[in-house]
């Protein structure tokens, strides 16, 4: 029976009322009396030395308040990187300075060179056009292998070269892995590219800086997934503003997908300029700016090899990846190809020996960082493509080969340093075969063939590490931050609650699903609970939302705080009921004495807490407000099995997705409808990567796919109706809700299913095609068939 409230109910998303009626409050909606506007003059060359900047004409243009260049930021810090990776020799990565405005050199198209603050945006833009910048152009490096060659142009003159780090994982296993390959009965090798993507949230980035001269208080309104992280990074490392004088607000945010995790120069600029100009300063990114200033995603070039014994058991896995960092290290960039990628290379399989090498490379391109899935899609794509290729080379059923090598006993310690607590990969594959009606595939294929189309079926599994992350562990791995989460539960006198969480909702529906959890715990209606997030002034220090961490980590903090509330409320109730605290039970919003008909309502207890006339003041404080911080003891490991059926038009190479099925194990589920929506969104982005999206630079570092005329976003008619199932549930063993997280699964699990399906269709159609790099555009598929 579907529930109509609490955990497990498909409660309608309360936030949608304002989102769908145009009454949300986004950063762009925030206008401060007297605010000025900033326009950034951005580099139109990928690499060059700034020989002069003349702002004198521009400074006299109408409406100009002040013009800033890199020289104005010599006294402030650079934009920091939040993760230090240690290379295979034990040395720290190379870490270049990342200035707020370019100083000395420009290193990618779109890098801000100067900023014009003016009365209106149009005036700022007019004046920016009048700034005379001379740049002595230098050869650009775009291709990662070229960037590592001797004599390649250096993106950063003060570094030894363009190699950020050369990471080996687990370095001690390397010789054993190599030996296993020498002993293998069969080795399958695949070279592939994980295409560079632009996140493209519906809402471009916006930042408004404000400064109160009378108090010295700074406020930054910004489109962020984690306002406390921005406050810490920008306050401590860039501008030197202590946290108690800096408030960061991330109000309604129209999608993040990772690219709004990071601290960007524009945020530091408007905060700095608001004080310098003594007025609020607003920046709104145009879509064109977003393409060349939002951190990009993916961009790995990999070689993967799988060794099998004579019985088709996986014996070893070896990968060699070049990971593009772009011109600078974005906030979490170094962690993505390493700790979010190498640790996932075991996938769902009991491969005993794994070695992962990653070379992170600087190029004259926009910085690359986490994008929905972040490292885990890159791992899954490689692994599930090479397994599929192995099955085809060996002439065995790809599903059977996977099943044969599944991990079946938990907990399971992988050879890549993580321990899966729970999972049931057989169950999700069984479910997939059921909902995918694989038995009917041949009939569907025959029908497609009648219409001149090649039909193919692709299957893959995935595992991800979510619920990011145990602070002590990530600290050992190089994180310069903790990854706990926090919640304050404030109960009001008349019984309503406000939960102030460090998680941030930018489309995920936290305001609904978080309330369901608290409602379930207390036994009250969800409408009595308000979820507050996104403002450092009224939420406890939290690390924000990414890595499918919010319900697993933020939700757990909220549970812990609510437990404290309930414990205290029971004390109050025991006083009111004149009973022993140990006899008090909370059910359906009322406290009762076990074995009696004596009870007191939730609202009477909360009122007593704030009107403590009859109250045990000698034992407990008045009021009902509790805070909890939760630091997870392990990652969570959602997993699943996906299938894709495609039709390929052999004449044009066009791929159409006819069917897509997802069987996920997310552990316990708070709101099935929201989970389904999260999977749908992830699938759209994963299928977008597989078929459509591609961020392309030319050899000079010019961005060719710089608008929607050339960057293909998935549209509704590119996508099928999905069959999504999340009834396989192996609850997480180490968080109080038994939840695993669901935000990234769709984007992680879907690209290999699509590519496997297209390769299957072509091979069934008699074409000698073993791999096509994403995106599988009609022209690429057609070329592969020739």
């Amino acid at each position: 029976m579907p529930k109509d409230g609490g955990i497990g109910a498909s409660s309608k998303r309360r936030e949608d009322v304002r989102f769908l009626t145009g009454t949300g409050n986004y950063t762009e909606d925030i206008n401060i009396n007297g605010q000025a506007h900033v326009f950034f003059l951005r580099s139109d060359v990928a690499h060059g030395t700034i020989t002069s900047i003349d702002t004198s004409t521009a400074a006299d243009m109408p409406g100009v308040v002040q013009i800033f260049t890199g020289a104005d930021f010599e006294a402030v810090g650079g934009v920091p990187c939040g993760w230090q990776v240690t290379d295979k020799h034990g040395d720290p990565m190379q870490e270049p300075r990342h200035p707020v405005l370019a100083h000395g050199k420009v290193r990618h198209v779109g890098e801000p060179i100067a900023a014009v603050v003016a009365e209106t945006l149009a005036q700022a833009r007019d004046a920016a056009e009048a700034i005379e910048v001379d740049i002595a152009e230098l050869p650009a490096v775009v291709n990662m292998r070229d960037a590592l060659k001797d004599g390649a142009p250096k993106v950063h003159d003060d570094l030894t070269g363009n190699l950020c780090y050369d990471w080996g994982f687990v370095e001690e296993n390397k010789e054993a892995v190599d030996q296993a390959f020498r002993d293998a009965a069969h080795v399958t090798k695949l070279e592939l590219i994980n295409n560079r993507l632009v996140a493209n949230p519906m809402e471009p980035r916006v930042a408004v800086g404000d400064y109160a001269r009378g108090t010295g208080d700074h406020t930054l309104y910004t489109t962020s997934q984690n306002p406390h992280v921005i406050r810490l990074l920008m306050g401590a490392f860039v501008l030197g503003i202590p946290e108690h004088k800096l408030r960061v607000v991330a109000p309604d945010v129209g999608g993040g997908f990772g690219t709004k995790i990071f601290h960007y120069q524009e945020e530091a600029f408007v905060t700095f300029a608001a004080k310098a100009c003594n007025r609020a300063v607003k920046w709104t990114s145009s879509r064109s700016e977003a393409f060349m200033s939002d951190a990009h995603g993916r961009d790995h070039v990999s070689t993967i090899e799988l060794a099998l014994d004579k019985d088709n058991n996986f014996t070893a896995l070896r990968t060699d990846t070049y990971a593009n960092m772009g011109a600078y290290l974005s906030t979490f960039a170094p962690s993505v190809p390493t700790w979010l990628h190498g640790t996932l290379m075991a996938g769902n399989y009991k491969t005993p020996l794994i070695y992962v090498n990653v070379k992170a490379v600087f190029t004259n391109t926009v910085p690359v960082d986490a994008y929905r899935g972040a490292g885990r899609p890159e791992a899954t794509y490689q692994l599930e493509r090479v397994v599929d290729k192995a099955a085809r080379e060996l002439g065995v059923d790809p599903i059977a080969l996977r099943r044969q090598n599944f991990i079946t006993e938990f907990p399971y310690a992988t050879p890549v340093a993580v321990e899966y607590d729970t999972g049931d990969y057989v169950a999700t594959m069984d479910k997939l075969e059921e909902i995918g009606d694989f038995g009917g595939f041949e009939a569907r294929r025959a029908e497609s063939a009648k219409n001149g189309k090649l039909r193919g079926l692709g299957v893959n599994c995935y595992i991800e590490a979510c619920g990011i992350a145990p602070s002590n562990l990530v600290g050992q791995l190089g994180a310069r931050a903790g990854l706990f989460e926090s919640a304050t539960v404030r109960v009001n006198a008349t019984g309503g609650l406000v939960v102030m969480t460090g998680s941030h909702s930018h489309g995920q529906g936290h305001e609904t699903s978080f309330a369901q959890v608290v409602a379930e715990m207390i036994g009250i209606d969800e409408s009595m609970i308000e979820i507050v997030h996104g403002d450092t002034a009224n939420t406890p220090m939290g690390m924000g939302t990414y890595g499918s961490r919010s319900i697993a980590v933020g939700g757990s903090a909220m549970v812990r705080a609510t437990e404290k509330i309930i414990n205290k409320a029971k004390k109050i109730a025991s006083h009111l009921l004149e009973a022993s605290e140990s006899d008090i039970e909370l059910k359906d919003g009322a406290f009762s004495v076990a074995g009696t008909d004596k009870s007191v309502a939730w609202g009477d207890v909360t009122l007593a807490a704030y009107v403590p006339h009859n109250y045990p003041l000698e034992d407990i404080e008045p009021g009902l407000e509790e805070t909890a911080f939760y630091d997870p003891s392990n990652f969570t490991y959602p997993s699943g099995a996906y299938s894709c059926e495609v039709e390929v038009d052999p004449e044009t190479g066009k791929v159409s997705i006819e069917r897509f099925c997802a069987a996920d194990d997310f552990g316990n589920i708070i709101n099935p409808m929201i989970v389904t929506g999260q999977v749908h969104g992830g699938l759209a982005q994963g299928i977008g990567q597989a078929l459509l999206e591609n961020c392309v630079y030319d050899d000079n570092g010019q961005l060719l796919s710089a608008s929607y005329m050339d960057y293909a976003m998935p549209r509704a008619d590119d996508l099928p109706f999905y069959d999504v199932d999340h009834s396989c549930q192996t609850p997480c063993t180490h968080n109080p809700l038994g939840v695993k997280g669901c935000g990234e699964a769709g984007a992680i699990g879907s690209p290999p299913a699509v590519v496997n399906a297209v390769v299957d269709a072509l091979q069934r159609g008699g074409k000698d095609v073993t791999h096509i790099d994403m995106p599988l555009t009609p022209s690429r598929v057609w070329a592969a068939m020739q």
Binding site: L691, V696, M709, A712, T777, S779, A783
Partner: protein
Amino acid sequence: MYNFDVETPTSIADAVKALGREEAQPLGGGQTLIPTLKQRLASPSVLVSLTGIAEMKGVCMTDDGQLAIGGATPHAVVAREAARHYPGLADLASHIGDPAVRNRGTIGGSLANNDPSACYPAAALGSGATIITDKREIAADDYFQGMFATALDEGEIVTEVRFPVPEVSHYQKFVQPASRFALVGVFVARFGDGVRVAVTGASNDGVFRWTEAETALSSNFAADAVNGLALSGADMISDLHGSGDYRAHLVGVMTKRAVAAAR
């Protein structure tokens, strides 16, 4: 966007007069020009809007059996009102861009811009249409002169387009995945005296007639008639979305499909 004046004439004569102002530019539905202005890639001093000129709007049949479309007629109106007279053309109009584009964009604007990936140039050239301006009549064969280039003089306005109506026709479009403009679009029209085949999206020289296919189809109007005919990829656009060879191949495929679907 830079500042500019806007004039909204209600007659062709007033529009011509307004276009005499320095750095004046005609504005049709604005589906190309307005985004260009927003990018600050054009800076006209005055825009002369043509969409308020009643004599430039509407669809009708002429006495000699041609379909006449006013230059300021939006695609959606053509899709609706030409369906009875020239279904192949109406179908093309109904698949240009999206609903917003179809309700703002005009046939005159599209033909004056002559984007190498636009749909209407294929219909005009494939029908052997006549482009009528405020000054003269220009045969489609003389009108299209390469990418974004036409026979129009500075300030000359497309006031009307007259289409001979073929016996059967069809436009087959293969869309570029991002923009959904034509990666290759082929318009095939069979008249009593022969077949015309016009190709958009593919060539470095903009819309063109595939004369070999026209000859083959004129003697045998069947998809197989173009088998063995091939265009050179070297003359075709090569970009992120497809090589010249791919486009040359698609021209053949789309031509066959257009023939098969012609009604």
